[in-house]
Symmetry: none
Subunit: 642 residues, 2 copies
DNA sequence: CCAGGTCAAGGTTAGT
DNA sequence: ACTAACCTTGACCTGG
């Protein structure tokens, strides 16, 4: 399985018969000439095809209109709109356009009437003949003739692809789909590749966008009911769709027949196989009939460096083996282990979407500020900075001092402390994941949560004088939203840009990206964190930089539910200035560092959101797990979830 | 378009044989296994193909042999090597290799003996069969037999690139070519670049040398028949394509027979047709035997609103019809018309690449600054701005005042003036391009140039006190680089975001994007300008905004050849502050306008660069035209060009 | 008619 | 900023 983290952006080139030839600039000119000629004669023949030649697809409206007409024809002809049910999965856009049938008919007409003069281009005739005979048969010819009085024949041509809306070439894998989606689906199920969505997993799939997100395209394929068995021998099913969704959602509803089909399928899709895998795990766990909790207790632990941290433990000190507490976090956290509630019930429905295919937003090609703009802004900031009065400068420095000292006191992940710990106990190389990290996802997740030192963080914030200036409610609000972001930023100290390694938050081992990918449950979000950290690690952070940046992130006036946005905004601006000033002094040779740091913010917020989604999922689907989290955690999260 | 003055010397690294088969990650494994297996058996069969597999390049003679044989076959079957005449345009490399037939036969044999295990990969047989039946006929098959003994086999692997002789990866753009030449050709035709040969234009193209001269490589590509639409449906032409070179170069040399063949060829290459078109134009002009100049003088002018501008004319007031002076520009420009030098001689070589194939850079999805970052920066700037002392604020305001008043005085395109002009003479709708704009590109271009009011602009700059502070040389440098950018920004007043229209710079007509596309010569750069303007038009500009922005653009410390970058940088920072402050006051409800404006800069600079490239081309290829530009123009441009 | 194979086009990216 | 190996895409083809 190769991880394709990027998607391919093959531009959509509609298979217009003629635009096909308007490819090279030169032919374009030829066309242009023709078009001009046409325009001159426009008086005689009212505005014929010039349109089409000029904007092959730039005149998209036209094209779409035409396309739509086809689609409509194909599906409904003279029939009643009852067939719309079969189109239920297509986007609203399509249906919306369908209303335009009447006006488009005209254009349609024009299109064709023009195509004949175009044949004056030498290469045309052959091609035309071929295309028409091959694809459209004689039915098309008749349509051509009657045209206005739409004939039945267009059937073959104008069914839309249920996946992307392009013109379907037939009934493939149980669904009317275009050549592209057919091929795409085939490749997916035969060569089992795993994709990732760079957005929220809800990318719109259109002929133009379908290549931008493989994950969402494949999801859509499943959503509309594509499957290997669907068509092959079994003709089209009466009930359209026996898809993934329903399986995942409610497996009881499945007829045994269905599940058999899936299990026996030789080429499982990534999604299906993931599901099956999960089910197998679950079954396995049930068979063993031993409390999953015991897993966490029984250790096959090389008595390495676990629990070097000073931590008053509530129940069980260490969660698991070397690689189990990989995910513990900075600041001082109580090490507690959740005593397993019977979470196995919902195991199969554990958020695939969240933990499996969701993806590294942080590694997306976040548009960087253009070099020129960055330079300009930097120089302006520098200019302004010089205009500061002494008093103002003093105030800035004081604020910085407070923030930095709080950070140094409470955060466990400072460079200093890490250095010490590492020298005491040199980290090992992480190369195999303990089973514990690959078992019940909800449990693994919960135990990971326990390592988050929300208390220390809150205490840090309380240190900030400006934080005290705002209302209690807003303080809580800011803390809730900023807590995980603070953890993320604190982890920046764990990354080594050159070796592309991340130290585990307990400093016990180095991980590389490939290793992280093998961590089943937390692998995906850890990957996010890793990518984010790698991006950040190109900057030369110091502990004070991190402290100030954390403070800045905290005071975000855009947090929802904030009462007094204004004062938070003012503080934020001041903290920007503080950070800028600090960087100016401590990184004099990195004039762009300030902007580089700012540019990390969207990624941080995205990872934060991903984490929040996971929390929400847990709360909804694993209430026992959620409720067994410590109070601080629950209180932190409660306010964030709808 | 992009002038690549240097050539890239990428060392040639022959690829490994088996990679040929490695298509999908999964097959990769399979192949690897096979390869391993094969290698293991090498002990028994004394190191046969290993050589070929690893440095197939050493066995190139084999490949060439085969390909050459093909061609011979297609043309002459078993005829004598007189067929070389038909190959006359291929490089000497090929013929040179032909001498190697005997030694290579051995290798050939070995190759085949090896390839039989490889056929276990599914895709092979089909491909083989297809290729053979379609292209080579049975005659070829028999030849093959006699050649090696076993038919088929290795064949498919060893086809050479007709351009460089490297191993072809397939049939690309109508020619068997390697990945490198395929990619190179694609880049050339999509990004239209202009190359130059440092030798005589006859550089040998080998895998080792192919990167030393782009010009000759591209020439070779054309010579062997590469063209965009050549292959299209993936079928190679029955005959090896007759070479375009001779046609393009020297059509007299063509036997009538030849030219017939070509003219009737269904798949004309883009270049050829472009060439033919240009020649036709040229011939046309010659036939008319009237000085092209006269075209500009003779008017079929509806006595509309031309020359409403106050303009002391040097020779001829107005260039042409309504749509001819569409492109005149802001600030007061003397309307002169270039008296045609006999530019028709070089007409055929006019930069198609410059004006035709250029992609609209300005409309590229320029990454915008993330909303969150923008907000943060804005709030910080606001905060800093408030820290300004009164004195500093006063100074800012004064600078702004000077800049704005200079602008209002000299620029013709202010909203005020436009408003007046429009009320006097309501603009018409531009819907057809006058012929004049579509004739000799160099002339059209030159006349467009004449409308640039460089003098007014320079005078405006001289008004700025800070501009006087810097050295004379730097003033000139800044002016040269900034002049066209100033024009571009001044034109921002011409755009209407809602209706997506652009007023012509003489305010005589409205143009939409489609119309601009129909302007042949200037269409491409005008499109850039239009797209840029549309992007800019979403902001609510006032004349003072534009004035300050222009000043900011002028004082760019990154301009090359600048002596004292530091002082320019300081002034720039101050101007940033001035602009920011101005926007703060005059656009209090658009807090992000400052950053939005800054984000236009890269696009502006890109369009500026495009324009500069065009100037450079003209200077090099149309020296008469260039020299007949006014002194200001020439002096402005001279320093910019290498 | 459709699953699956084919392969040129073109996007991507590490390398230079 | 260019190069070229590598990869995905999808129109077209083929066999069942
Ligand atoms: Zn589709
Ligand atoms: Zn997506
Ligand atoms: Zn080549
Ligand atoms: Zn050369």
């Amino acid at each position: 399985m190769i991880e394709t983290s990027h998607s391919y952006h093959h531009p959509y080139k509609p298979k217009q018969r003629f635009t096909h030839y308007i490819k090279s600039p030169d032919t374009q000119n030829v066309c242009h000439d023709i078009a001009t000629t046409c325009r001159n004669t426009e008086v005689d023949q009212p505005a014929p095809t010039a349109i089409i030649h000029h904007h092959h697809y730039l005149s998209q409206s036209t094209a779409n209109l035409i396309e739509t007409t086809h689609q409509h024809n194909g599906k409904e002809d003279f029939g009643p709109p009852s067939s719309s049910s079969s189109l239920s999965t297509t986007t609203s856009a399509v249906t919306a356009v369908e209303n335009n049938i009447v006006p488009s008919a005209q254009l349609h007409d024009l299109t064709r009437s023009k195509s004949s003069p175009t044949t004056s281009i030498k290469t045309e005739p052959n091609f035309e003949r071929k295309q028409f005979s091959e694809n459209l048969n004689n039915t098309m010819a008749s349509l051509m003739k009657t045209n206005g009085g739409k004939v039945v024949g267009s059937m073959t041509v104008n069914v839309p692809c249920l996946v992307c809306g392009d013109e379907a070439s037939g009934f493939h894998y149980g669904v009317n789909s275009c050549e592209g989606c057919k091929g795409f689906f085939r490749r997916c199920i035969t060569q089992g590749m795993s994709h990732r969505c760079n957005n929220t997993g809800h990318c719109e799939i259109t002929p133009f966008s379908r290549n931008s997100c493989q994950y969402c395209r494949l999801k859509k394929c499943f959503d509309v009911g594509m499957s290997r068995e669907a068509s092959r021998l079994g003709r089209r099913p009466k009930r359209p769709r026996s898809d993934m969704k329903s399986i995942v959602k409610n497996e009881k509803e499945l007829s045994p027949q269905h599940s058999l089909t899936i299990t026996s399928s030789t080429n499982m899709s990534a999604q299906v196989s993931a599901f099956v895998r999960l089910q197998e795990i679950q079954r396995h766990q049930q068979e063993q009939s031993l409390n999953t909790n015991e897993k966490f207790i029984k250790q096959h632990t090389p008595p390495d460096e676990r629990d070097k941290e000073l931590s008053p433990t509530n129940r069980i000190d260490s969660v698991s083996s070397t690689t189990s507490n990989i995910l513990s976090s900075p600041y001082r956290a109580p090490s507690v282990t959740i005593e397993t509630p019977n979470s196995s019930t919902s195991l199969s429905s554990f958020p695939d979407c969240l933990f499996q295919h969701r993806q590294p937003l942080s590694s997306t090609l976040m548009p960087e500020i253009h070099r020129e703009i960055a330079r300009k802004i930097s120089s302006m900031l520098l200019y302004q900075e010089k205009l500061l009065t002494d008093i103002e400068a003093k105030e800035m420095d004081h604020i910085a001092q407070v923030i930095i000292s709080a950070h140094l006191q409470f955060c466990v992940c400072t460079f200093e402390k890490i250095q010490m710990k590492i020298e005491e106990n040199p980290p090992i190389w992480a190369d195999s994941v303990s089973d514990d990290l690959n078992c019940d996802p909800a449990l693994v997740w919960a135990n990971w949560q326990l390592s988050f030192p929300f208390e220390s963080i809150l205490r840090t914030f309380k240190y900030y004088t400006f934080f005290q200036q705002i209302s209690q409610d807003d303080q809580i609000c800011l803390f809730r939203h900023g807590a995980f972001e603070t953890i993320l930023v604190s982890w920046f100290t764990l990354f080594d840009a050159e070796q592309k390694l991340m130290l585990t938050p307990d400093f016990s081992a180095y991980m590389d990206r490939d290793f992280i990918k093998t961590i089943k449950t937390l692998g995906v979000i850890m990957l996010e964190i890793f990518d984010l950290g790698m991006k950040a690690s190109h900057l030369r952070w110091t502990d004070s930089d991190i402290a100030l940046f954390n403070a800045l992130l905290l005071m975000n006036p855009e947090r929802s539910d904030l009462c007094d946005k204004q004062i938070v905004g003012q503080i934020e601006a001041k903290l920007m200035q503080v950070l800028y000033r600090h960087l100016r002094c401590h990184h004099p040779n990195e004039p762009n560092m300030f902007l580089d740091i700012l540019q990390l913010i969207p990624s941080i917020q995205e990872v934060n959101q991903i984490h929040l989604n996971a929390v929400q999922y847990i709360k909804r689907h694993e209430p026992q797990i959620f409720n067994s989290l410590p109070d601080v955690h629950r209180e932190t999260y409660e306010g964030l979830l709808p």
